[in-house]
């Protein structure tokens, strides 16, 4: 059972022994092909592309959480949002993308934090289109926001996740902001007829 604190050694172990691997470039290029296809399908309406990526990520999150729970052997929910942040950064990102973003910029109420990505495998090989709009409108890795939103909803946390900066836009860092909206109650069975 995972202890409340994420231990680096444990995640490295899970990543190395429990996760089947594929070549990173297959994943990266597949994601690139997806984003490119969306840009085409939505006629370079990047706001819509962001939305679609978030939606796809949400669907992935709903699935991925089960894999996360199974692979990390987690039975218990985190006791607070800070612990959740740790688990996302050190376990979740580690076992699925082999990176560990930095947790920073907590608000004093402990309900908002940022993940700063030193590495972002999805963005390897990428340069946004030079059309004067993409760098202002497209969040290339927006799928990750949806993944977090979906995955956390499954463990009964409603969150909002969005990128606030991206090296692909010319910013010096890639930063995602995550805010806890509320904890979700158990759904109850419908009243019997």
């Amino acid at each position: 059972m995972a202890s409340s604190k994420a231990s680096r050694l444990g995640e490295e172990y899970v990543w190395r022994t429990r996760m089947d691997k594929v070549n990173a470039e297959l994943v990266v290029l597949t994601y690139g092909a997806m984003v490119a296809q969306l840009c085409k399908d939505f006629d370079s309406d990047y706001v819509k592309v962001n939305q679609q990526l978030d939606k796809m990520g949400y669907n992935i999150g709903l699935r991925l959480i089960e894999d996360y729970l199974a692979k990390s052997n987690t039975f218990k929910r985190c006791s607070n949002f800070r612990e959740t942040a740790e688990m996302i950064a050190k376990v979740g990102f580690k076992i699925f993308l082999n990176i560990t973003p930095t947790i920073t910029n907590w608000t004093s109420d402990g309900k908002q934090f940022s993940l700063v990505f030193d590495e972002n495998p999805f963005a390897d090989f990428v340069e946004l289109p030079d059309d004067g709009r993409a760098q202002d409108e497209l969040w290339y890795s927006n799928i990750l926001c949806g993944v977090l939103r979906g995955a956390l909803e499954m463990v009964q946390m409603q969150v909002e996740a969005k990128f606030v900066s991206d090296v692909l836009r010319g910013n010096d860092t890639t930063e995602m902001r995550i805010s806890l909206i509320r904890y979700i109650d158990d759904e109850l069975p419908p009243e019997d007829d």
Binding site: N59, L62, R63, I65, E66, D67, L69, A70, K71, T74, F75, K76, R77, M154, V155, Q156, D186, E187, L188, P189, P190, D192
Partner: protein, 185 residues
């Protein structure tokens, strides 16, 4: 050990999968494994809820008085609802009494044992076995991590959520589950 039936409920409390294993008619196959259970051939007559749809075959040779009531039992969908209501109440009660760290694991009646496993994502697995079966917690855990995650969750052709069970009943999952459970019996 005899497994009677297996249910999966999702976070929306819907029963998205049901499977029953017919009680074996030959005593040779379930004899040795359920040796400690006592009752031998008798035992198959006392199927728990969920085997109700298949009991018609055993009534002919039946001697148990419970069979009549069993036949009157409503459809298996109602069984599932009943089971969910029961385990959900028990789970809530256990948490209320023992704190959030406590977990409802199983209960036993005179005729069967019900095993319960809940994931952090509110997926609930329920298995009904004969009374002599030891804890199935690990078995249910294996079903979750090796079968559910690999064959349902990761299957691109299966929808993300399984309204009315859509996507759960796929060939790989069903085959693997059946093999896994039969391997235990």
């Amino acid at each position: 050990m005899t497994v009677y039936s297996f249910y999966i409920f999702d976070r929306h409390t819907e029963c998205i999968y049901t499977k029953t294993w017919l009680p074996q008619t030959s005593s040779t196959s379930d004899g040795p494994s359920s040796g400690g259970g006592g009752g031998g051939g008798q035992q198959q007559q006392h199927g728990p809820p969920g085997t109700s749809t298949s009991t018609s075959t055993t009534t002919g040779s039946g001697s148990g008085s419970g069979n009549t009531t069993m036949q009157l039992r409503a459809s298996s969908a109602d069984d599932a609802k009943l089971i969910f209501g029961t385990v959900f109440s028990l789970r809530n009660m256990v948490r209320k009494l023992g704190g959030d760290d406590d977990a409802f694991v199983a209960f036993r009646t005179a005729h069967y044992k019900l095993h319960y496993y809940e994931t952090a994502s509110s997926l609930r697995l329920v298995m009904l076995t004969d009374t002599g079966t030891p804890s199935m917690r690990n078995v249910l855990h294996q079903v979750y991590i090796n079968l559910w995650v690999e064959y349902v969750v990761k299957n691109p052709l299966s929808p993300v959520e399984h309204k009315r069970g859509v996507g759960v009943k796929n060939e790989l999952f069903e085959m693997a589950l059946d093999q896994f459970i039969r391997g235990l019996m």
